[in-house]
Symmetry: C2
Subunit: 337 residues, 2 copies
């Protein structure tokens, strides 16, 4: 197995210095076109690729951005990541993805790992995390962007939407249709500002109608099908039975719909179900899922552009908010009289 070719090998073959080869690679316009083509030929001959470590060491940049997401196992973050990656790729920046499985300690670990790898920037989901992490990021001066979460006075660069307002809008619509027996299956709110905000939004709307969300009407579960189904079965066993179950995301809602069916009930006739996120899943359920559409791809793109903006530190625009839209489909209907 041959040792990997180096700048020197290429330079030797092209009859130039390593500096020139380096320039051809990084600032081609600063090299006479004749030499340039000679160098390029040599590069091609060796199938030369710059050594990442050497480059990182000399330039102190890696052209790498890291993202830490809770999980790849459900599709929620996939689309946004894809967009992020595509946007970064346009600037020849590589995306490194790590998962934390909704565990703050593991997230901290992953952040450390990525920083250790010298990422030039970091994308993190949501705002809720230990202050020491923010301190570390600031100390190291690594640019970062929070996505999926947004509030006007967020002290960090963030790209997202108002989870609370979106959930409030959904709950308002539910109430407007006449529902009064409202139950909710939320994600685990601990250490999760999105899940928390969504619960608060629902509470807001209920309060406007003089209602509230009893402890017995609110269950927190992990974001997976089985958990959603189990929670729904529990809620539907109560008397009076809820006429609607508002879910913290689409996966939970899918589980809830499964439970409804398995109990011999029908949605939305016996009980309505709503979701959040509008992933593909929402379109294959029966009935189709009423949910909150979230601008996955645009968040990814915006995060990329924020990170790629060099003057990010003093930039005015460090805070991007997107609108969400309520998508009404078959799973939500007025309660049966």
């Amino acid at each position: 197995m041959k040792p990997r070719p180096t700048l020197e090998d290429v330079a030797g073959m092209a009859g130039v210095s390593t500096a020139t080869v380096s320039r051809v690679l990084n600032q081609p316009e600063r090299v006479r076109s004749e030499t340039r083509s000679r160098v390029k030929a040599a590069v091609a001959h060796f199938d030369y690729t710059p050594h990442f470590g050497g480059r990182a060491l000399a330039s102190n940049r890696t052209n790498t951005v890291g993202a830490v997401i809770p999980t790849m196992e459900n599709a929620i973050f996939a689309r946004g990541l894809q967009a992020l990656q595509e946007s970064l790729a346009e600037e020849a920046v590589t995306l490194v993805v790590a998962t934390a499985n909704y565990d703050p300690a593991r997230e901290a670990d992953q952040i450390r790992t990525l920083l250790g790898r010298g990422v030039d920037g970091l994308v993190l989901i949501g705002e809720a995390r230990d202050p020491s992490i923010y301190a570390m990021l600031e100390r190291r001066g690594t640019p970062f962007v929070l996505v999926w979460s947004w509030r006007a006075d967020c002290p960090w660069p963030c790209v997202g939407f108002d989870n609370r307002a979106a959930a409030r809008a959904m709950a308002r619509r539910v109430l407007e249709l006449g529902h009064r027996q409202v139950a909710m299956i939320a994600g685990i709110t601990r250490d999760n500002d999105r899940a928390t905000a969504r619960v608060e939004g629902v509470r807001d709307a209920l309060r406007e109608h003089g209602l509230n969300l009893n402890a017995s009407r609110l269950i927190e579960t992990p974001y997976n099908l089985e958990a959603g189904a189990a929670a729904a079965r529990h809620l539907l066993a109560a008397t009076p039975r809820p006429t609607v179950i508002v879910c913290g995301n689409d996966v939970i809602a899918a589980g809830a719909l499964n439970a409804v069916r398995s109990l011999g009930l029908e949605a939305p006739a016996d009980v309505s179900v709503t979701g959040f996120d509008d992933i593909d899943l929402a379109l294959v359920l029966d009935p189709l899922l009423t949910t909150v559409h979230v601008p996955h791809r645009r968040m990814g793109e915006a995060a990329a552009s924020l990170l790629l903006t060099p003057h990010m530190r003093n930039a005015e625009v460090r805070n991007v908010v997107f609108e969400t839209t309520l998508v009404e489909r078959g799973s939500l209907a007025p309660p049966r009289k």
Copy 2:
């Protein structure tokens, strides 16, 4: 913004040489425990993290493994990746994921990028790709593993299952139930050995019954809902109408079920539908999807262990095959008399 601390800073504070600090980090047992703790204190004080580039340059390893997958947008590869990542993390290896969007040129690019980043190993999906890529990998001596695809005489290390046999088994079951009007919606077979093998498997079974798959009964589409639905609508417009649609994966099958419903037909009474992959999606469809269960997680784990085995080059076991199982659920039933 303070410059990042280096080995030297830590060494200075601990009153030792940089070599010792390095040893504490990499082979703690080779340092007296007293000095070790002094060094550790200094490391903690500076919140020191080794510089990735420096380390890569000196050791010529990155503790990084790359994976190039077609897409993150559907859940098909997510679970396997998650398992891969978890297994690698146990050995302190970081996974870098890149996507190629089912485009061979883009895949080649991504492979090059990852090699440029100095990954210690590579995970690739399937076997079908330009020989020059394999040549490049061999020349550079970078270990790699093919997953999701398998055949006994595959010349490269591979971890997967027999796509053709699995599809054949599914089609046999379909025929056994009495179906004779069989249609198929496959993935795009070009440059995709899995999609190709699945079509071949279906053809095998049909042939055993003296049947074949007319061009009009086979449509290739991208792996997404809309494409699956469109293809199904097309197939269902034919006379005689197929009594079953065998799909190349679950996402396509979900689209097909949508189409069935939108045409006012019912599955499986009017037409059966089968999938492939057994992702979560299969469990939320109505009817539940009959599909082929694929060992996502075990493939990920096996790929990790192959890659982490140092003597992989001369290893006897470079070729791991898993069984698939046919999961019968509601979407497949005998044809109506």
